[in-house]
């Protein structure tokens, strides 16, 4: 309880600081935005990235940040990592074996040849787009880094829901992306006007493609032992 209060206090402080520093006239934020993503059958979709783009204005770039893409038990964690463009992502290897992380995606082509521990230099994702991550020696390892041009994004939980708070009131366009999204994320846009202090809701019904992921069980039959 005290912890949560502390977090809230820090967030409030940050907001104030942020507002003060950007010179934007301090203004009451909009209420929480609740996003729900489900497929055609109403099944909630996890790991969908809901992102809001303010209309008419260019959102102020957040200070450069870092993010983590762990490799744990021969899996990437998290499966989907949305980042603001320019974010530096480190790939710490928490397994006791090496991994060979690579991406041939046009948004970011890179390769971290077999390594243990955390590579010295983080990878900067400076182009928006989808970066599919793989491991050369573990075919089933698959993760996505979604590089966004807006700082307002959130990832849905297992119940398909996500919550976004502290946005300035105004006109936004809400969009959704998922690694298996059928079609273009840019075309999922929905206008979302946000009023000060008022909660908003946005829901997406999306269609997913089948997964190409190579099943792990066939590769590691003795995993349990």
């Amino acid at each position: 309880m005290t912890r949560r209060l502390t977090v809230a206090a820090i967030l409030a402080l940050l907001t104030v600081v942020f507002a003060t520093r950007t010179g934007v006239k301090a203004q009451a934020p909009s209420g929480p935005v609740e996003a729900i993503v489900a497929d055609e059958k109403g099944k909630p979709i996890e790991d969908a990235v809901v992102f809001l783009t303010p209309l008419g204005t260019t959102p102020a770039a957040p200070p450069s940040s870092t993010a983590l893409m762990d490799q744990h038990d021969k899996e990437f964690v998290p499966y989907v990592l949305p980042v603001y463009v320019g974010t530096r992502v480190t790939f710490p290897n928490r397994d006791n074996i090496r991994h060979h992380v690579y991406s041939f995606s046009s948004a970011k082509k890179f390769e971290l040849p077999l390594y243990i521990g955390t590579p010295a230099a983080p990878v900067v994702f400076d182009k928006p787009g989808v970066v599919a991550l793989g491991c050369n020696i573990h075919d089933w390892m698959l993760a996505y880094i979604y590089v966004l041009t807006t700082p307002y994004f959130v990832k849905t939980a297992a119940d398909g829901k996500a919550r976004l708070e502290g946005l300035a009131p105004g006109a936004y366009e809400a969009r959704v992306w998922h690694p298996r999204l059928r079609g273009d994320a840019d075309k999922t846009g929905k206008p979302l006007p946000l009023a000060a202090g008022e909660p908003a809701q946005v829901s997406f019904v999306v269609s997913l493609k089948s997964e190409w992921r190579i099943p792990r069980k066939f590769v590691e039959p003795y995993r349990g032992s």
């Binding site: 690579y102 041939f104 599919a132 050369n136 698959l142 190409w212």
Partner: protein, 610 residues
């Protein structure tokens, strides 16, 4: 003299036809005869049954062989398809392995075209594939080991790519650019699909030969090309390929195709939409196993046919032989020969027929014999007394043999006949003789005398031979009286005309030798002995109207007649004088004295005659 046109008639009845042996049968023609027909029908029926059995068995065997081959081909087809699938799976695995290569991924994702092609060429060798193609996710060719110029062109098998998109990967035999390939398409995952990797193995004649080792059957790959199938690879040589291709029209799954004049059972396995594999085997190979059966069948059938033929011939002979015998006998009968008999020793209808036929023949023979006897008797009666004629016609020739018998002999002749014959016209002489003979002839018949001879006006008659009678002397005397009376009436008429004619009679009795005398072709029945001479002398002694009898005769008939003794006569040629009697008339007639109808009397046996 007794004259007969034929001399003494033979006592053996004449035959009109020849002997049995010489009767000619018409020759039996092979197939028109009853026997031939029987054999033909019997053997024909058997042959038809045999042929039917053979055809049925042959059809069953063929059907069996066909179904055995079909089953074999079906199994082989299943095995073959599985083999193909296994090979496809191998190819898929190899291709999938290849697609995991990081350098390939890297090259595909980042490097230039030349490098990508180079990697592909290198990797093609790794799995010994004939072709390796890298496809963009949208299906355009990114790189092709066959021809760099293919880059940018659309993949020729979009449906295969669709299938790969559906299922993740695909392996299939497909026709591509005029050739057949076993193709595997797998995604290039990095780790998202960034491209498709398509590996292909050409299917050519070598492949077919290689696959033949699996099933030991001829293998042909066909590509669908409207309106039919076109051979792409095969273990067959050129001419057979063409024939097979033509023969496949209209065969969906199983069928028979003529290759080089030999029927081949084929099975079509459709392994994809436009590719089919045809397995085949010569029907003769499967039928070869049944050759032994057919040989046995032929041998048994042939033996059966021969046995049936022999049996039919034997049966036909057994059946037709009595029929032919009956026909032959009937022909004898038709020719008038009733002597034949048929020998049919059977218990069936034919045997009955034979027995009946024999009975009929016996009846005919009896009738014929009776008829012949009657005829002969009629003839004989013209020359003999009815009794002799009957004896002769009954075939009793023993009478003709020379024998001694006591007989009563009567001689008579006309007095003055020689003078009359000289004076009178020959016509008158003949008329007189005819009337005279008619008169005495009737009496001889009536009294059953045996006319031994007549010479013009004289004649000799004896009794008790050859037919014995109980009273020969009485009969002779009675007949003599009857003759005298009958002839006197006749002579009266001629006397009135001026011809002095008289009638004298002599009768004696005694033993004489009687029988056939003469030579072959001319015989008489004659009596020789003193009795004939004495009666002739008595006749000579007799005057007109006088009946002279000897002492012995008179002793026999003295109760019947009135006579006067003439005392002792010295007759010429006789040493001892003879007591002679002249019969004047018969005593008052007793009913039994004169025989009634001669025919009513039964001839007596020789013993009774004594």
């Amino acid at each position: 003299m007794i004259r007969t046109p034929e001399g003494y008639p033979s006592l053996i009845p004449p035959r009109r036809g020849g002997s049995v042996a010489t009767v000619h049968f018409p020759k039996v023609r092979s197939f028109r005869s009853f026997r031939g027909q029987l054999v033909v029908v019997f053997v024909g029926l058997f042959a038809v049954i045999l042929a039917t059995c053979f055809l049925v068995v042959a059809a069953a065997v063929r059907a069996n062989a066909r179904s055995a081959i079909n089953e074999e081909l079906r199994l082989a087809g299943t095995l073959f398809v599985r083999q193909l699938e296994a090979r496809s799976q191998q190819l898929l695995t190899a291709t999938r392995l290849l697609s995991g290569d990081f350098a390939l991924k890297t090259a595909a994702a980042t490097a230039d075209q030349a490098t990508t092609r180079s990697v592909l060429a290198n990797h093609r060798q790794r799995i010994s594939a004939d072709v390796l193609i890298l496809l963009e996710p949208d299906g355009t060719i990114a790189a092709d080991t066959r021809d760099p110029g293919h880059q940018g062109a659309a993949f020729p098998l979009p449906r295969l790519l669709e299938a790969a998109e559906q299922t993740g990967d695909v392996s299939q035999i497909a026709a591509m650019d005029g050739g057949l390939y076993r193709l595997a398409i797998v995604p290039l995952l990095a780790p998202d699909p960034i491209a498709w990797l398509c590996a292909g193995f050409a299917i050519d004649d070598r492949t077919a030969v290689d696959l033949r080792s699996v099933t030991n059957l001829h293998v042909s790959f066909f590509r669908r090309q409207e309106p039919g199938l076109v051979v792409q690879a095969s273990t067959l040589d050129g001419a057979d390929r063409e024939e097979l291709q033509r023969g496949l029209a209209g065969i969906r799954r199983d069928g028979v195709v003529q290759l080089a004049g030999q029927p081949h059972v084929v099975r079509v396995e459709r392994i994809s939409d436009d590719v089919a594999v045809v397995l085949q085997r010569p029907l003769a190979e499967a039928l070869a196993a049944n050759q032994g059966l057919f040989r046995t069948l032929f041998a048994v059938g042939g033996a059966g046919l021969i046995l049936a033929l022999l049996g039919a011939i034997v049966l036909a002979r057994r059946t037709s032989r009595p029929v032919q015998a009956l026909v032959g006998a009937a022909q004898h009968v038709a020719a008038g020969d009733f002597s034949a008999t048929v020998s049919v020793r059977r218990r069936d209808e034919l045997g009955e027929l034979g027995t009946t036929f024999n009975a009929m023949l016996a009846g005919l023979r009896d009738r014929e014999r009776v008829r012949a006897e009657l005829q002969r008797a009629e003839r004989l009666k013209r020359f003999f007394s009815p009794q002799l004629a009957e004896l002769l016609s009954a075939g009793d020739e023993s009478m003709l043999a020379s024998h001694r018998r006591e007989i009563t002999v009567l001689f008579c002749d006309l007095r003055g006949f020689t003078a009359f014959a000289e004076k009178a016209d020959p016509e008158d002489v003949m008329r007189l003789l005819r009337d005279y003979h008619t008169t005495v002839g009737a009496l001889i018949s009536r009294y059953e005398g045996t006319l031994e001879r007549f010479t013009g006006d004289g004649l000799m008659v004896f009794f008790n031979d050859p037919v014995p009678c109980p009273d020969p002397a009485a009969r002779a005397v009675q007949m003599a009286v009857a003759m005298r009376d009958g002839v006197q009436g006749l002579l009266d008429e001629w006397r009135r005309r001026g011809f002095a004619l008289g009638f004298g009679t002599g009768v004696d009795m005694g033993y004489a030798t009687v029988g056939r005398i003469g030579y072959e072709g001319r015989f008489d029945y004659a009596a020789i002995g003193t009795v004939t001479n004495l009666s002739a002398r008595l006749c000579q002694e007799a005057s007109d109207g006088q009946i002279l009898v000897s002492q012995r005769v008179y002793a026999e008939v003295e109760n019947l007649v009135e006579a006067e003794a003439l005392g002792t006569l010295a007759l010429r040629g006789f040493v001892r004088p003879l007591q002679a009697f002249s019969v004047l008339r018969l005593r008052a007639a007793r009913p039994e004295a004169a025989p009634a109808d001669a025919r009513s009397r039964q001839p007596l046996s020789k013993d009774e005659g004594r």
